[in-house]
């Protein structure tokens, strides 16, 4: 079907601003607070992971003029930030893992545009950096397998997802037993899934879904303390900063993808 636009896409006057290295202003990208993850999509979806055009997302890793001779296998996306919002986590992770390709997945159109511009601006003002992060507009609850192959991802992030309080809307939550099957499929054994929220009830829900799932096990506390990524969960994203400003509590659940133990 259609190709997805990478961080190099996008348009309008903001594009010029970001090409000149100026960060886009959030107020140009104001959007509705919540989108309904179940409503039908009007954005392009790759038919299968083979159709995801990485050169649009990470042009430095996919130069147009191939030098001939033996090519190393092209890199793959390894981290996914699901419901990435304004992209703070990607920006924080990029220098920590400069050789790892990462993608943010975001449902809201305007917010996705903002993240694209933000990344382009960062690339322009910091040559050689931020080439490993990008964003795509998609409904992660429906199209994860269209983007990633089996065992492709080593980390998945779900930071401050929408809480969907009402019981009848629980099935709209991004973490559920059913969706964990799909996340387990795209994650490599040993990969880590990070979740955090300031809503206690949702925190318990995400933890209990992960605990019940046979393909995930809790990462021990010592390991969590030593993981440099963990600090970013509560500091890097726009939502986490808002929570911190208001002195809110956060609840995380960090689990490892394991292989299935058949009794």
């Amino acid at each position: 079907m259609t190709r997805t636009n990478g961080a190099s896409g996008g348009g309008g006057q903001q594009q010029q601003a970001s090409a000149a290295g100026k960060l886009p202003r959030k107020r140009f990208y104001r959007a509705r607070a919540h989108s309904n993850p179940l409503s039908d999509s009007h954005f392009p979806v790759p038919v299968s992971p083979d159709e995801v055009d990485l050169s649009q997302h990470y042009p430095r890793y996919f130069p147009a003029d191939k030098g001939g001779g033996e090519e190393p296998p092209p890199p793959r996306i390894r981290f996914a930030d699901v419901g990435c919002g304004f992209g703070g986590l990607l920006v924080g992770l990029s220098p920590l893992f400069p050789d790892t390709l990462m993608i943010g997945m975001e449902l809201r159109d305007k917010v996705t545009e903002y993240v694209k511009e933000r990344i382009l601006a960062l690339r322009a003002s910091n040559p050689g950096q931020y080439d490993n992060i990008s964003v795509v507009r998609t409904n992660s609850m429906k199209y994860i397998p269209n983007y990633f192959r089996k065992a492709q991802l080593t980390k998945m992030f779900f930071l401050f997802p929408d809480p969907h309080f009402k019981e009848k809307n629980h099935r709209r939550r991004v973490i559920s037993t059913q969706l964990l099957d799909e996340y387990a499929y795209v994650m490599e054994v040993g990969g880590i899934i990070y979740t955090i929220t300031d809503v206690e009830e949702l925190g318990e829900w995400m933890r209990s879904c992960l605990e019940k799932h046979p393909l995930f096990e809790a990462v021990p506390d010592e390991e969590i303390k030593a993981d440099p990524v963990v600090k970013l969960l509560s500091t890097a994203t726009e939502e986490s900063q808002k929570v911190a400003r208001n002195g809110g509590q956060t609840f995380h659940a960090i689990f490892r993808r394991i292989s299935l133990q058949e009794e």
Binding site: M1, S35, N36, L38, S39, D40, V47, S48, P49, M141, K142, P145, N146, K150, R171, T177, Q178, L179, L180, D181, E182, A184, Y185, H213, P214, L215, L260, E262, E263
Partner: protein, 433 residues
């Protein structure tokens, strides 16, 4: 924006046109046809219609049956549909041994290869499992409630099949996805380990089938709204070949007969030797045959079997033991349809096996007089032998088929305004308020 796609499907399901279905007992003992709430079974060994006894708790189907299947052993049969009932029947005694009530309408049903479990998919895309007990015996504990084992997030499952070795359960949906999941030894805890996704269809997937039930290696075949039939290595989720039915039909039909939407694949049926695939196409009066070369991993156009002008099969079936391809045409839930009009038409193709590949002639369809057990059989499964009455009903099915099949399967895109209207019109909400 409150309402959801799935809820839409749930609501609009009520008046949706329901195609007639056909299934054949794996050893050729019987043939079953479902139309509307009616289940018609003919015993080919005894040469008589089967009297089903629905005595387990008295609830019979009261709305369109959407899915039927025989188990691989032939011991069990299942039926399910819009009335939210899943019924499991023993084929030897012709008795219903279980009636399961689903919370939602049921779109697909399957029985595990060991006859221990029945699985069904509801309109929210969730697959539920119920234990049937040893050999499908009738002693099952009462608290044996359906448990959810997997789900296609907010998409309706159109077809569900177990792999020939019983290790996998494959599910296809209206969002162009096919999921292949390991079926665990203890499935009551859910089927969480996905073996592969078979992605390639660009429209809804209407049907899936596994080839070669006897050999070790098997393949998955799928048909969809994009007018393609695809061959998959389902272990690795690799698309091996795609047959563009639309292109072929373009050569065969008048140009005005081939708008895209009318060439959706309605059903597929592999021959028992795995060398052929019969394809029913939404507006084609006949069946297309594809040759399936499992060595070269190719799916190629072989020939078409044209049938009478008013005949478009809605469902196909074959059994391991015989070389007959059973086809049925019919529908319920059409506007102005009385229940007395639940008529179907059957057409049977003999020699549905690899000899067809080398022969130059199109196989002849059996004349009504050549059909096994002749009129008795046709009367039982069609509901009538009256050609005039039949023609009348089939003409309306034909008209409905041309438009409905595609509408039925593609997701509805409602405008915001229309969505609001539908929400206000919903009965379940009205009751609560």
């Amino acid at each position: 924006m409150e309402d959801t796609a799935v809820e839409e499907a749930e609501v609009s399901g009520a008046a949706e046109f329901a195609p007639a279905l056909i299934a054949a007992h794996p050893h050729g003992n019987s043939v079953a046809v479902a139309i509307g709430p009616e289940l018609r079974v003919f015993d080919l060994k005894a040469g008589s219609p089967v009297l089903l006894s629905d005595d387990c708790d008295g609830r019979s189907h009261s709305d369109a049956i959407r899915a039927i299947c025989f188990s691989v052993s032939g011991a069990l049969f299942a039926s399910a549909g819009d009335d939210k009932l899943v019924k499991v029947w023993k084929t030897d005694s012709c008795r219903c041994i279980r009636t399961i009530t689903s919370e939602k309408r049921v779109s697909a049903v399957a029985i595990s290869n060991d006859d221990l479990y029945v699985t069904f998919a509801d309109k929210f895309g969730v697959v539920w499992l119920v234990t049937l007990g040893e050999d499908g015996t009738e002693q099952v504990s009462v608290d044996n409630k359906p448990v959810p084992i997997l789900g296609h997030y907010c998409s309706i499952i159109t077809s569900m099949k177990f792999s020939p070795d019983g290790r996998f359960i494959a599910t296809a949906d209206r969002d162009f996805k096919i999921r292949v999941t390991l079926f665990p030894k203890n499935p009551l805890k859910g089927a969480h380990e996905i073996q592969s996704f078979c992605l390639g269809h660009t429209d809804f997937v209407s049907c899936i089938a596994f080839t070669s039930m006897s050999e070790n290696q098997s393949f998955l075949i799928s048909g969809g709204g994009d007018s393609t039939v695809r061959l998959w290595d389902y272990i690795n989720g690799c698309l091996l070949d795609t047959c563009q039915v639309r292109d072929k039909m373009g050569e065969l039909l008048e140009p005005n007969e081939t708008d895209d939407s009318s060439l959706a694949i309605a059903d597929i049926c592999p021959s028992n030797d795995g060398s052929l695939v019969a394809v029913a196409i939404q507006s084609f009066t006949g069946v297309m045959l594809l040759a399936c070369d499992v060595v070269e991993k190719k799916l190629s156009f072989l020939k078409v079997i044209t049938m009478e002008k008013s005949y478009i099969p809605t469902s196909l079936a074959s059994s391991f033991s015989s070389e007959l391809l059973w086809t049925v045409m019919g529908a319920s839930n059409m506007p102005n349809q009385a229940s007395s009009q639940l008529l179907t038409r059957l057409r049977i193709v003999p020699c549905f096996q690899k000899d067809l590949i080398s022969s130059n002639n199109s196989p002849a369809i059996l004349e009504d007089s050549e059909v096994p057990h002749g009129e008795k059989f046709l009367l039982a499964l069609q509901g009538s032998l009256d050609i005039v009455k039949q023609e009348e009903v089939l003409a309306s099915v034909l008209a409905a088929l041309k438009v409905s099949m595609h509408k039925m399967l593609v997701k509805k895109h409602y405008s915001e305004e229309r969505r609001e209207q539908r929400k206000r019109g919903r009965n379940d909400k009205k009751i609560k308020n």
